[in-house]
Amino acid sequence: MGVRAWLGDRLPVSGRQFRELTNEPVPYHLKRWWFALGGTPAYLFIVQIFTGILLAFYYESSPTTAYQSVEYITREVSFGWYIRSVHKWAATLMIVAVVLHQIRVFFTGAYRKPREINWIVGMCLLFATLMAGFTGYSLVYEQLSFWGATVGANIADSIPLLGSFMKRMMLAGDAYNQATLSRFFILHAAVLPVTIIMLLAVHITVIRLQGVTEFRFKDEDEGVTKTFNFFPDHLYTEILIGLVLMLVLSALATILPATLGPEANPLQTPEVIKPEWFFYVAFRWLKLFSGTAAILSMGFIVFVMFGWPFIDGWIRKNTRFKEASVWIGIFGVLIIVGMTLWEAIARH
């Protein structure tokens, strides 16, 4: 019995069916590179899983040993510095890629009916990625980790009604203690990755069910649906993007390897506390509108972001501002970039 027949008996998928599954025609606009940004975060996520597992072999999630174990990974373990640096840079690029993907989806209106649910799933993926970033840098247990987590918990505390409960859930008590770090570790290494995988599964399934949104550019013929094969055309594009990403990650990890700041000292508040760059915008917002007002306004913005497909649908249906989303999007991007730069430049 040949291998093919042996496999055929056990996996009842014929070659033709497999080709159909993998070779779905893809809209022609995907030949343009910037439309392949959706696969980039997924690819970086795989890099994170792989490097994260290697780092977890050595990481110890206790305040007394966490910093030392990261130091050990960086200085002693073979290729430890490289794996840690790739993990750090892949996290940074993953957030960049998710945001760019979301901006592309927003400006091309790809969230509109019938794809509202997938936009919401995408928003959940954005926040899960940001949470993974937050819990990730908290694990290093340097000054930034400790005080970042403390500030984060205090921000959660100012949320009306649920605040103190959320803070206690985050810190495993009223203040940072022995159990806090293991809570962050479980979130970072188990809960969030599984959540992201499940959300990704839903995200991709919905894309397969609905098909990729088709776009037509000015230089293309009207009325003719042009497609090309996923395999090997689009797969080659994705492989190429993956290889370029690996090259970029490798270059960043060797030229700008992950550093290690001073160890966390609960008795010494740093003169300047700043979170990682991807929270600069939220941090600046909190400084501008202190207290509950900042939290409530931020909550409102997040709510609007989640519900945007429905809000946009209402605007398009009931007003004459059919392209309002573009202007609102430009305004939003300018605010995010501006506030991030402001926080980056400001000393306090």
Binding site: Y236, L243, S250
Partner: protein, 399 residues
């Protein structure tokens, strides 16, 4: 892009990625070789110090060679990073386009090592210069020496000597360990010290009249008084108001942790009839074990934590300063943190210290309790943490 082109680009990018992994492998091998001592560590000369290194490699090759073997060189900390000064600093001068000072003080080191400097500043080491104003100094400056030049009334064959410096034993003796009050020659023939400059918290002089009296050579370099500089005494009274000299233990310019961990380093000062700690140590079981087992002490270890990196024998640093597994590897630059008694006064005192790290002399129990910030018992417990690596509790408590 055609499929064929895509295939070629994928192959090329894949090849480049594999090459990058070869580079990573090369970096890792080089790192391991440096750690194992097979290869000399990579030295990175910062751009600001390139000219210094090139010139001083000719003028004083030893300085550059020592620096090249230092962690500073590995981390890209060059000459200017430590010697940099502000124009307002009393001893600063322009040297080949860089404003520098010859004397590097603890305030300079604190630009990077602020935690270490803060610990050192509160230590008894930093107060070693107090001897200059004490009765002990009477021995050097009056009993053995003289505050004025004097005629030795004894011919020196081959030399026509009629007057000698009476402070030679103070300058070359006591002050080499205790530290000198660093002085610059003044235009009125006197000396300018920290007392005249009255520096502020940042070390900048506030008495500009004193700054105006500083004499300089034709290149603008201040003329230091040779009786007080060179000096690396541990309690040196610096022109910027700081006390001490980090190079007293961390010899320049290699700043070797290995050397600071060895008892011979401490023995430079802690010897002789008035402070014979080195001799006592040498004859003790600790000192005997050190001589026998020095090769097992892993003196080049990065952190040098007792119980992790070594356990063969203790040196002075092991007990008084270095980290151990019981204290989480915490190093202190204040040896007094683990000393519970001082035998220096005629009647020994228990080292209950106040918030300023001064011994509390208050006798009233209530008032005393309110003043004590760190008890002698706490200090003893810190020392016992070290002892307990090799000795049982019963042994330690009964010793």
């Amino acid at each position: 892009m055609t499929l064929e082109t895509k295939r070629i680009v994928i192959a090329a990018t894949g090849g480049l990625f594999l090459l990058s992994l070869v580079l990573v492998q090369w970096m890792e091998t080089a790192r391991k070789a440096e750690e194992a001592g097979i290869r000399a560590p990579h030295v990175s000369v910062p751009a600001s110090s390139r000219e210094c290194v090139e010139c001083h490699a000719e003028e004083n090759p030893g300085i550059v060679a020592h620096w090249e073997g230092s962690t500073h060189a590995e981390k890209g900390v060059g000459c200017v990073e430590c010697h940099t000064a502000e124009r307002e600093d009393a001893d600063s001068y322009l040297h080949h386009g860089e404003q520098i000072a010859t004397v590097v003080t603890p305030l300079d080191c604190a630009r990077c090592h602020d935690h270490e400097q803060a610990e050192f500043a509160q230590s008894h080491h930093a107060a070693a210069g107090n001897i200059l104003a004490s009765l002990d100094n009477f021995l050097a400056e009056t009993v053995e020496g003289a505050r004025l030049e004097f005629n030795p009334h004894s011919p020196t064959p081959g030399k026509a000597v009629d007057m000698v410096n009476g402070l030679a034993s103070a300058y070359s003796g006591c002050q080499q360990c205790h530290g000198a009050k660093v002085a610059i020659q003044a235009s009125d023939g006197g000396l300018i010290t920290v007392d005249d400059l009255a520096p502020d918290a940042d070390g900048r002089p506030t008495d500009l009249d004193a700054v105006g009296r500083i004499t300089r050579d034709e290149d603008g370099k201040p003329l230091m008084y040779s009786g007080t500089w060179p000096n690396t005494g541990i309690g040196r009274l610096n022109l910027d108001g700081s006390r001490g000299s980090c190079t007293a233990c961390h010899s320049r310019h290699d700043f070797s942790p290995r050397r600071a961990r060895q008892p011979e380093n401490c023995g430079k000062c802690h010897l002789g009839p008035d402070h014979p700690q080195k001799e006592i140590y040498e004859e003790s079981k600790h000192g005997i074990a050190y001589r026998d087992l020095k090769d097992d002490l892993n003196l080049d270890a990065e952190e040098w934590v007792l119980g992790v990196d070594y356990a063969a024998a203790p040196t002075c640093a092991t007990c008084h300063m270095s980290g151990n597994i019981r204290n989480g590897g915490t190093i202190t630059h204040d040896p007094g943190e683990r000393i519970s008694w001082t035998n220096r006064p005629p009647v020994s005192r228990v080292m209950d210290t106040d918030i300023n790290h001064e011994i509390v002399t208050e006798a009233d129990p209530e008032a005393r309790r309110s003043l004590i910030h760190d008890t002698a018992e706490q200090k003893r417990d810190r020392m016992k943490e070290v002892c307990s690596h090799c000795h049982s509790d019963g042994y330690v408590n009964s010793f």
